[in-house]
């Protein structure tokens, strides 16, 4: 290969900002200048405000430019030809950008760097080293994952090793590995980025899980809203099969393992693990009562490991570098790193992987740079539609499962959505109830009926109809939903509602009273 190697991210966030058009426009520019180019559609580095962020390989390393819009492309391309020369959009060496420099990238080590379609590049960047160590000591995998302190990154935070041990100990003729890629929480996109930017790490993680528990078949359940991720995963699975990393003999070993992608159909509740299993089996995505746990009776009634994308994608580095290495990052019972997603009204949105323990304030103010509207931050919702709204007064909360729980919040899948002072928190609380009503699977009464009553009650409060009585009703209703719902949809909807009410009571005062008070 000769000529210029240019990276144009194929990540959906970059594509949504015009990356496909840029990638198509480069070859004609190159032809005009008689320069040979090779375009690589990499994943995103996670500095999304700079997308589409183009990189050119030079003798000084990779030099980035962004955000590159069509109007700037020609001059950026000329700067690239000149060996990564100066330009108003020049970012420089990506790794030296403070946003990346401050991070600890374990799960996302390769994302944005490698060509997601190339197994060779994956192998050249430490790919499948974890699998090789796992194959050398299959019986030690579960202990290593347990020792690493890895907890479910989907939101529940259940220790991954314990889940795996339960499935490993179960006796059955068939077992399954199911990857939950139904990333429906607003403000989250880390699963999508990994699947689009480093799909082999997920395949490797699932394969290690299969070997650890004795499962030979895996499913990745990806939401239909992620067509790009679906395409990249399917491509990577095909490549891994052809190379012998999946199939009857994984990497020449006695272990068999195969993976298939299944596509969701727009139901948020299918992100709940038992609803997901129902959906995979071809039924309505209705939540199952637990017990039995999926680890005992999961997919098609067989013992099943069901883990989030990030949990599984963290396993290869744990196996490769050792449990102690991973465990040394983090605080308290939250070990390792968390790929945090900064979103909403934020100047520097994107993916920030760091050890647990960073405070919410550091994330929003220092890393995220405050709002892009330039207005003061009013509230931050952490953990998706079921996460609490935190005011600035709680910005000292460290990113840690227990610390957030201690303040009636949750870190969930680590999405951070920032709102400025124009946000109406009563409206946000109403939306939480409305969303729950739309997405409820209908199986349990607190969620199915409670959410609709919640919308009505909030409407009455805002209209000024017996506000005190209705506030008591709302509080009571939230309590019933929290403790009486079958799953987190009904059970956690009270978090955004009650946090909005607790931290922003002034927003629940009816409009005429607001005026009178001023």
């Amino acid at each position: 290969m000769a000529g210029l190697r240019i990276y144009v991210p194929g990540d959906a966030a970059a594509v949504a900002c015009g990356a496909d058009g840029i990638a198509k426009a480069i070859p004609p520019l190159a032809a005009k200048r008689k320069v040979a180019v090779e375009i690589v559609r990499n994943g995103s580095r996670g500095m999304h405000w700079l997308e589409p962020m183009l990189e050119v390989v030079t003798d000084k390393g990779r030099i980035a430019y962004g955000p590159v819009e069509m109007d700037d492309l020609e001059s950026v391309f000329d700067a690239m030809i000149a060996g990564g020369a100066a330009h108003k959009l020049r970012v420089g060496v990506p790794e030296e950008h403070p946003f990346l420099k401050k991070q600890t990238r374990l799960t996302f080590a390769r994302c944005g760097i490698v060509d997601p379609h190339s197994l060779d590049e994956y192998l050249a960047h430490d790919g499948y080293k974890g699998l090789m160590k796992a194959l050398a000591d299959p019986a030690g995998i579960v202990a290593a994952v347990t020792e690493s302190g890895l907890r479910g990154r989907g939101g529940a935070g259940f220790p991954t090793g314990i889940k795996w041990k339960t499935v490993a100990d179960a006796q059955a003729d068939r077992k399954y590995i199911v990857c939950n890629a139904d990333e429906g929480d607003s403000g989250t996109f880390a699963d999508r980025m990994i699947m689009e930017g480093d799909p082999f790490v997920l395949i490797e993680g699932m394969t290690i899980a299969g070997i650890a528990v004795g499962a030979t078949r895996g499913y990745v359940y990806i939401r239909s809203e992620y067509p790009h991720a679906i395409a990249v995963m399917n491509d990577a699975i095909r490549t891994a099969k052809n190379a012998g990393y999946l199939g009857r003999s994984v990497a020449g070993s006695a272990f068999a393992f195969d993976i298939e992608v299944r596509v969701g159909a727009g139901a948020y509740v299918c992100g709940e693990e038992t609803a997901l299993l129902e959906s995979l089996e071809g039924r309505r995505g209705q939540v199952r009562a637990k017990p039995p746990l999926p680890a005992h009776k999961g997919l098609f009634g067989k013992p099943t490991v069901i883990n989030n994308v990030l949990s599984l994608a963290s396993v290869p580095v744990i196996m490769d570098r050792g449990a102690a290495y991973y465990k040394n990052f983090g605080v308290g019972r939250s070990r390792g790193t968390m790929p945090i997603q900064l979103a909403g009204n934020l100047k520097y949105g994107g993916l920030f992987e760091t050890a647990f323990g960073i405070t919410l304030g550091e994330l929003v103010d220092d890393i995220g740079g405050g709002t892009f509207t330039g207005r003061p931050v009013k509230a931050v919702q952490v953990g998706g539609p079921l996460g609490a709204y935190f005011p600035r007064a709680l910005f000292d909360t460290p990113f840690d499962y227990e610390a957030f729980a201690g303040r009636d919040g949750l870190i969930g899948h680590a999405g951070v959505v920032v709102f400025d002072d124009t946000a109406d928190m009563a409206k946000q609380a109403r939306f939480a109830m409305e969303f729950c009503a739309v997405e409820s699977c209908g199986k349990c009464t607190p969620c199915r009926i409670g959410s609709t009553r919640g919308v009505e009650t909030i409407d009455r409060i805002v209209e000024g109809v017996e506000p005190e009585k209705n506030l008591a009703v709302l509080t009571d209703l939230c309590n019933t939903m929290k403790f009486g719902s079958l799953c987190a949809l009904g059970g956690f909807t009270p978090y955004p509602v009650m946090s909005a009410l607790t931290h922003f009571p002034e927003d629940f005062v009816p409009a005429p009273q607001k005026q009178a008070a001023e």
């Binding site: 966030a13 607003s186 999508r192 239909s224 809203e225 299944r262 159909a265 309505r284 995505g285 909403g344």
Partner: protein, 155 residues
């Protein structure tokens, strides 16, 4: 997007192509919808028979999931994200603008069959919000100008 008119033969072929697959119902429904643009009612008893399910079970699944249409959509489908990260970035104003300019409410198809406007709860583009999807093409960092351009494409 051009879809095929309902054909029992095509449906039968699709169903047959999934023979022996575990939990085949959702993959079959996706393929049926990809072929016809929606899940025609006559497909339901055919699927039910092939999978040894009752027709009610198949119908129950079709109606449970937001993705499956029971009638054809407009020639264009504009999905606008209505979730929190887009709300925080001014998405509500743009959503209202779409309803007003297209003359339809969310979930509706324009009378001339030109466009269907749908809400979507997160496209995973939360760091480049507000976001929307027109006929499968994603667009982020929406403002009035950009959303107007998208709407113009449906004309």
């Amino acid at each position: 997007m051009a879809y095929e008119a309902w054909s029992a033969d095509t449906a039968a072929n699709i169903i047959r192509s999934h023979e022996g697959r575990e939990g085949a119902l959702l993959p079959i429904l996706h393929d049926i919808q990809e072929a016809f643009g929606y899940v025609p009612e006559p497909a339901e008893p055919m699927i039910a028979e092939a999978l040894s399910l009752s027709r009610a079970e198949v119908h129950g699944v079709v109606t449970f999931y937001h993705d499956f249409r029971r009638e054809p959509a407009g020639r264009h489908v504009l999905k606008v994200c209505r979730a929190e990260a887009c709300q925080a970035a001014g998405g509500d104003v743009l959503a209202a603008r779409c309803e007003k300019h297209l003359g339809v409410a969310f979930g509706e198809t324009s009378l001339d069959g030109r466009v269907t406007l749908e809400p979507v709860y997160c496209l995973g583009l939360c760091s480049v919000s507000p976001a929307a999807m027109l006929d499968g093409r994603i667009v982020g960092r929406l403002d009035e100008k950009k959303i107007d351009k998208l709407m113009a494409e449906t004309a």
